[in-house]
């Protein structure tokens, strides 16, 4: 079990605000890791830095032995790091199949899809996220849960080694959450390394064996869900400091 992603002393400033402050961690190959923190902790910024949508002020990101710090998103995706977005993004006027096909047509996606045929490959992915019966319709009329599944499907089109899921449960009903949970679990069982964020902790804590907590851009703790949930600093980050509860 080698290290697949190594983040060293990552710092990102937006003007006077330090969104990510000297942040370091590692993900092992095949691991299932969660990143938690209250709103505004910098979780999405960490994701944007890894996936190349933001450039860090300092620090290093090494994926599979390759330095990907500050590379363009398209380059990083084609090395094998796919992501989903917190706010669901889809190609509004393309059918669901075509939505997936775009990822399959990227250089990395193509090299895997070619053996099966692009259309068949995209259909397989669409089936694996459970949307195959809606292949011909555009995403504008889909419910939110299906859009989340589509987002994951789009990320899978490039056949990622590391999948970054940004808040996969936000805005979902209980049933929809269950669907996504089992989908993510299945992906992990298939051997994809998964790194996901969430500020709704219940589902995430059930799913992952290891969690990193951050607050105001800083690393707090790295441990099992139980250790993290009982950590004083994590509780303070979520609930605030004070002797009220004492």
């Amino acid at each position: 079990m080698g290290v697949i992603l190594e983040v060293k002393n990552l710092t990102k400033k937006f003007g006077g605000l330090t969104a990510v402050n000297d942040f370091s961690f590692e993900i092992k190959r095949g691991e299932f890791l969660g990143l938690i923190g209250p709103n505004g902790a910098g979780k999405t910024t960490v994701f944007n830095l890894i996936s190349g949508f933001e450039k860090p002020n300092s620090g290093k990101i090494i994926f599979d032995g390759i330095d990907i710090t500050g590379k363009r998103p398209q380059k990083i995706v084609n090395l094998g790091v796919s992501r989903t977005f917190q706010i669901v993004r889809s190609f509004k006027f393309l059918s669901l199949l075509d939505n997936i096909k775009v990822s399959c047509l990227s250089p990395r996606g193509k090299s895997f899809a070619r053996q099966h045929g692009i259309d068949e490959y995209a259909s397989t992915i669409l089936a694996s996220v459970g949307l195959i019966d809606k292949a011909r319709i555009p995403p504008v009329i889909l419910p939110h849960g299906d859009l989340r599944k589509l987002g994951i499907g789009k990320a899978l089109g490039t056949n990622p080694q590391l999948l970054l899921l940004d808040e996969p449960f936000s805005g979902l009903s209980h049933e929809e959450t269950q669907g996504i949970t089992s989908l993510i679990q299945k992906l992990h069982d298939d051997g994809v390394t998964i790194f996901m964020t969430g500020h709704v902790l219940r589902e995430l804590m059930h799913l992952v064996p290891r969690v990193i907590a951050m607050h105001q851009g800083k690393f707090i703790i790295d441990g099992t869900p139980r250790e993290v949930a009982n950590n004083k600093l994590v509780l303070e980050a979520y609930l605030g400091k004070g002797d009220v509860f004492a």
Partner: protein, 336 residues
């Protein structure tokens, strides 16, 4: 293997048969037949000329629609590709006595090179800034040709005139040009529609819908935007080449903003991202202009009012509502 090929050969006419029976296929064939038999009834070179102009603008508007409708890149300088190619075609025809097809192809490739040259700096711009950037480039060329130092070298304000005719000028000359233009137009539209439905088209549409998400899907959006620009400028170039052949003269006015706006109006009139809409828009626009000619100075006024009303009541173009009405009629006739 052999039976495979045999099956393919047999299945193509079957496919065509079913396609013709559909509403879309039937309508396409009907329109093609109508437009191919027009010269039988209409031999006046002037009237044929109107059709030829409309067909040339069909390709031109479709080239703009490809860029804006499929790739989401709004260019306000499409006329430069028309103009570059028209100048090259005219020059090769007149000064180098090249064959017409070669001249048009050279013109189109000159447009593509220019599209690449303009595309690389302009495609860093987004939305309205891209529109302004392309417009500025076309205005710069217009000004250079009209009064800059280049005007002295590049044929000045008079442009290239007395371009030799590609067929002997007699009573069938205009008819030959008509069919030549028709064939090229149909081929160009077919290719553009085919690209729209291909994987390349899917990628371009994804960039139009959400470029950030395309990037996250591993698509090199800059590369594909440049490809879109080059394809669009190629077809605008073909239109420019035929334009030079048809008019047998070009002048710097072709680079002016007017032609760029023509393409935008025609394509939007028909409906964005519907290549056949460009044909409808172009024919409507050119015919309306001709129909209003007797009104003299008032024609522009009436023209503008008609356009405003159309955009008010058919904001997504006139193609869709017309197709829907025709479809109802078709279903009624077939008793469905």
């Amino acid at each position: 293997m052999a039976s495979n090929i045999k099956n393919k050969i047999i299945s193509v006419p079957n496919y065509l048969k079913t396609w013709i029976k559909t509403f879309r296929g039937g309508l396409t064939i009907f329109c093609l037949i109508i437009i191919s038999i027009i010269p039988i009834f209409l031999q006046n070179p002037y009237h044929l000329g109107i059709f030829i102009t409309a067909m040339i603008f069909t390709i031109f508007a479709a080239s703009w629609d490809f860029l804006a409708g499929f790739a989401g890149l709004v260019s306000f300088g499409q006329a430069m590709f028309l103009g570059i190619s028209a100048y090259f075609t005219a020059y090769f025809l007149r000064n180098l006595a090249a064959p017409w097809w070669l001249s048009i192809l050279i013109g189109a490739f000159a447009s593509v090179c220019f599209g690449l040259f303009i595309g690389i700096p302009c495609l860093r711009l987004k939305g309205p800034y891209l529109a302004l950037g392309t417009m500025v480039f076309s205005l710069i060329i217009f000004d250079l040709l009209m009064m800059g130092g280049l005007a002295l070298i590049l044929f000045g304000t008079e442009g290239i005139s007395r371009v030799p005719s590609i067929f002997p000028v007699n009573e069938t000359y205009q008819i030959k040009i008509y069919y030549l233009t028709l064939i090229i137009t149909v081929i160009c539209l077919e290719i553009i529609i085919f690209i729209g439905k291909s994987n390349l088209g899917t990628i371009l549409k994804s960039i139009r819908d959400d470029s950030t998400s395309s990037e996250a899907s591993g698509i090199n959006i800059t590369k594909y935007k440049i490809i879109a620009f080059m394809i669009s400028s190629f077809f605008a170039g073909i239109a420019g080449g035929i334009f030079a052949v048809h008019l047998r003269a070009v002048n710097p006015a072709i680079f002016g903003p007017l032609y760029s706006f023509y393409a935008i109006i025609m394509a939007s009139l028909g409906g964005l991202a519907t290549i056949s809409g460009s044909a409808l828009g172009a024919f409507f626009f050119i015919f309306l202009g001709e129909a209003l000619r007797p009104f003299g100075d008032y024609s522009v006024l009436i023209f503008s009012i008609v356009l405003i009303l159309l955009i008010r009541f058919a904001e997504h173009g006139i193609l869709k509502p017309i197709l829907e009405r025709l479809k109802d009629l078709w279903d009624l006739l077939l008793g469905r």
